[in-house]
């Protein structure tokens, strides 16, 4: 059983900073879980606590059902891929891969077999005699992965392993990672700040901000049923638009115009709508949000229209390719009611009533 569990884990520092507030998370056996969020959100802290490189202030961490709080990193049967790879510069690739196995007194021939097997899998078998300094960035990254894989650990920890690669290589390695996990489904916990990586790679995502979990779910959950404004705005590129609105007499008003029957009680509310669900209309009809065009960015396959609502809020809308609108033009934004999200104006939490809407 290689399940990983965080029970109420907190990490507080001597100066008073709280890096992690009461993390509760279970990663199933063989699951690929992604911790995603902006810098400072606590994702790297959580990973380091799991690795044993740091001690939690309170809470329990379990691997394979057993509590590992008191265990050294080497005793937890985990392997980690570091952001900067942390390859031993004075050792050959072979010795880098073999190091962990040799520390565990693995017999020489088995070390040989496993190293060559892993090297073949990652296509670095030709590099075994070279030193890290002689390798390219992509090759080093694969050696770092190999060093982790060869140990056949209970859990695989990855700390932003793609962030040092150039864009093209990053896309390629992302695909390699997905394929690799399909072939070798080891429980993996992956940290990134890149939401595209998170959405494409993860079985489940754990979105974090300022030390707290914002939402845990599949890509579909996170994208289509965001739990609060943070998740809504963080995931998706361009992010979900958030507009201030108010419900009066059961009707939602945004930008001064009455839009639709509201799904929530009277009062102020934050309305969310994704760029691809909004439509720009040059004739402002009833039920549309009035706005003024700011500029249009052509992207070939479609255009991104930036409009301003109420002279305040910037809204981005997907439009068909070839859309041409002059800055300042008055337009109406159509909000489909089933794709309109309601968030509490104060806390940012999604309104429960959302769950009644079918998508």
């Amino acid at each position: 059983m290689a399940e990983v569990e965080f029970r109420d884990v907190t990490r507080k520092y001597a100066g008073g900073t709280v890096a992690l507030k009461g993390l509760n998370l279970t990663v199933g056996d063989g699951e690929f879980l992604i911790l995603v969020g902006p810098s400072g959100c606590g994702k790297s802290t959580a990973l380091r606590l799991l690795a044993g490189l740091d001690k939690p202030t309170t809470g329990e961490i379990r691997i394979g059902g057993a509590v590992v709080n008191g265990l050294a990193p080497g005793e937890r049967d985990i392997a980690m891929v570091f952001q900067n790879y942390a390859l031993y510069p004075h050792m050959t690739v072979y010795r880098n891969l073999a190091y962990g196995l040799r520390q565990r007194r693995t017999p020489r021939d088995e070390v040989e077999r496993r190293v060559r097997e892993t090297a073949a899998l990652l296509e670095i078998d030709e590099l075994l005699d070279r030193k890290p300094g002689q390798l390219s960035g992509g090759q080093r990254q694969r050696v770092a992965m190999g060093r982790a894989l060869v140990r056949k650990p209970q859990a695989f920890l990855l700390d932003e392993p793609l962030s040092n690669l150039d864009a093209k290589l990053r896309n390629q390695v992302r695909g390699d990672l997905k394929r690799l996990h399909r072939e070798l489904p080891v429980t993996s916990i992956y940290v990134t700040h890149d939401q595209v990586e998170a959405m494409t790679l993860g079985d489940r995502l754990c979105v974090m901000s300022r030390g707290e979990v914002q939402q845990i779910g599949t890509t579909d959950d996170i994208y289509n049923r965001p739990a609060n404004t943070f998740v809504a705005a963080f995931m998706g590129s361009p992010p979900m638009n958030l507009l201030p609105g108010v419900v009066r007499d059961g009707t939602l008003h945004v930008g001064g115009a009455a839009i639709t029957a509201a799904a929530t009680p009277n009062g102020p509310v934050t309305v969310g709508a994704r760029p691809e669900h909004l439509e720009v209309h040059t004739t402002v009809a009833d039920g549309m949000v009035p706005a003024r065009i700011d500029f249009v960015e052509p992207l070939g396959s479609h255009a991104l229209v930036t409009a301003i609502v109420d002279d305040e809020t910037r809204v981005i809308v997907h439009a068909p390719a070839g859309t041409q609108l002059d800055p300042g033009t008055r337009v109406g934004l159509a909000l489909p009611p089933e794709r309109t999200y309601y968030f509490d104006a104060v806390t940012g939490d999604a309104h429960r009533s959302r769950e009644r809407i079918t998508l």
């Binding site: 329990e60 057993a66 590992v68 709080n69 979990v213």
Partner: protein, 302 residues
Amino acid sequence: MTTTELPPTETVAREASSPPRERKFRLPFSPWHLVLIPMTFVLILPLLWMLVTSLETESETNRFPPVLLPERPRFENYTEAWAAAPFGHFFLNSAMVTVVVLISNLVVCSLAGYAFARIRFLGRGALFVTLMATLMVPFQVTMIPVFLIVKWFGDNVWEGLGIDHIGALMLPNLATAFGIFFLRQFFQTVPVELEEAARVDGTSRLGVLFKIVLPLSLPAMSTLAALTVLTSWNDFLWPLIVITSQDQMTIPLGLSYFQGAHRVKWPLLMAANVMSLLPMLLVFIGAQRYFVQSVASTGIKG
């Protein structure tokens, strides 16, 4: 907030008990202090013992096993030592030599260092290599001829530069190849664009050096300064060769002379020693960062 929770599983006990909080015996401080304190004590023991002895009476030092703490700290040792030899002269001489050597090095080596770093001139490579070659030559090879050269200066240019004058201590050390090397390395790390922008604005070469490069080079200059001060202040062999008159002696030489005159008057000798050491120790503690930097940067570059 949606969380997926599997039903609680059986804990396979890996340790005897694993409560959420560890109950281990912990010292209120890191155990490493128990290693570091004795180690540090042993390292500075000679200095401590010097201090203790400097406050004892002569009869106390003539006891065996030695007295570990004097009955009454005898500060008179210091005033007596001060009176027994012209320490005032020694300090002044050391200070003058060090200051002159320091300023000269900083000025001359920055000028040359900058020229080697940023100005392409005919013969630059050959000149640089020739100057750097002098780093390989040990002092003993040059000390006899330099003695003769300095003697010549004293006889033909100005007495103050010649044998038995502190000018002779300054003259050979006004510029060092190491200083040029060190500053050149550093100047090369200053972004060229800054200098080019200034020159486009009309600043002269020299102006660029003084207004742009030098202000950015304070850390390197401080590091070189620290090293120069230390080497100059503690220099012994050259002053020994050149100086014989007491009133021209620097501190190390003066201390050695004092040692010769008061060989077994240990408290007095130790008091003199403390007085001689103190200036450099204080400078070192205060500018520690730069001393460390000076060694570390030479070491890492090799």
